[in-house]
Symmetry: C2
């Protein structure tokens, strides 16, 4: 039986304010919930239309479809909703060792795009992403859904991008940024290790961040009439080319 | 002044049934509306918070913000909403001359993905797309929004994909399909001219269509724990690689 308080608690997690307060987030659907469980995310609550066998001591609250529909954040409720504790992703920038890419996202605001970028990162083996503090919260339910569980493997750090870029430049890591006035990214030489910066859907990369780039790059268009690509698609194309 | 009948008419265009009945669709936001006007789409109605100077004889119905918000399909209403007639895209398959790619979409159901695919196609100069009849209607308001006006330049044909593939094979056009068991797409030789097939978000390419492929291709993942990429991102990556 689900208490009124539990319903209120789950519902509050739609909002970042309460995700910060309780340090929790909601995941829905058996695929997504399973991904977080497999990645050892600490489970707080699991509500399902059927019993789940989980290693942790958390018991499934079995409810009927109607109840699950009532608490679900999705248009079409699935058979399971779980509340997890946010992971500990505190990272001292000084400790960050760049593997191949450092991915920096400057104010991505659409949760669908953010989720898709996290999913693509996971596909290409990117383990850490840095987002500016103005970006959409990655524990937003829509980000969780569109990342399809990849957030259980990719660590996202909300930090000051200027600080990180300054540090990367000190270490002589080349910093590329996707802009509409950059050089043809198919033609440029790709280093083994670099920073890739992507800007917001409506304003691109901010002035302050742009100043710190070594090179602006562009996916050239075959059509002069169109002025931009979706940022999550551009991200996939550039990551593929730099792989 | 907007009549009750006009409001009812606009609202009905949320549904495919009425888009078919009236042969019309809704576009919102000055960028998107402008793209359709520039591409000479026939305008039926334009409602805005300010006067629009348009070559056609259609006059702007100037309304206040509150009224526009009431009729808007968007969460955040913009300053303009227009109703256009659907274009004439009747194409006899026999008349179709493949330029570089023939793009075939087998049951893409998410309007955001469909819109993003149309936008990416436009970016890479693809002028025609073929979609199975089970795909989401491209005049769905969410497709219009996420394609960002690119639907004004890319012609989309809802047809029988089996028939088109059979015909392409007769003409010896190589047919590739993106699947999860295909060959590494970075390694294969890319012909100058080919068909590229993409399947639905949940079920991939249907059995019947798969039978007609010459080769299944895959974007290889660096992470065994993840099982799929977003279809609109995969589309961008593959189109970029085959460009």
């Amino acid at each position: 039986m689900l208490s009124k308080q539990q319903i209120k608690f789950i519902n509050s997690l739609k909002h970042n304010k309460y995700r910060l307060k309780y340090n929790c987030f909601v995941a829905e659907g058996s695929h997504v919930v399973n991904e977080f469980i497999k990645s050892n995310f600490k489970l707080k609550l699991i509500i399902s239309t059927n019993e789940w066998q989980i290693k942790s001591k958390v018991e499934t609250l079995v409810v009927d479809k109607k109840t699950l529909k009532k608490i679900s954040f999705l248009k079409t409720a699935s058979s399971v909703l779980a509340v997890f504790y946010k992971p500990d992703t505190i990272l001292r920038l000084d400790d960050f060792v760049i593997q191949k890419y450092a991915i920096l996202l400057d104010s991505i605001s659409d949760p669908g795009n953010m989720g898709s970028i996290i999913r693509t990162s996971d596909w290409y083996g990117v383990k850490e992403i840095f987002v500016s503090k103005k970006s959409v919260d990655v524990f937003n339910p829509k980000v969780i859904q569109s990342s399809m569980g990849s957030l259980s493997r990719v660590r996202v750090h909300a930090i000051d991008l200027i600080q990180l870029l300054t540090q990367l430049k000190k270490k002589q890591v080349p910093c590329f940024g996707a802009t509409l006035l950059g050089e043809d990214m198919y033609d440029i030489q790709k280093p083994d290790c670099c920073a890739l910066v992507f800007g917001s859907e409506s304003h691109g990369i901010s002035k302050e961040v742009k100043k710190l780039l070594d090179q602006e790059i562009l996916i050239p268009s075959k059509n002069k009439l169109i002025d931009s690509l979706n940022v999550s698609v551009a991200y996939g194309i550039i990551l593929s080319e730099f792989r």
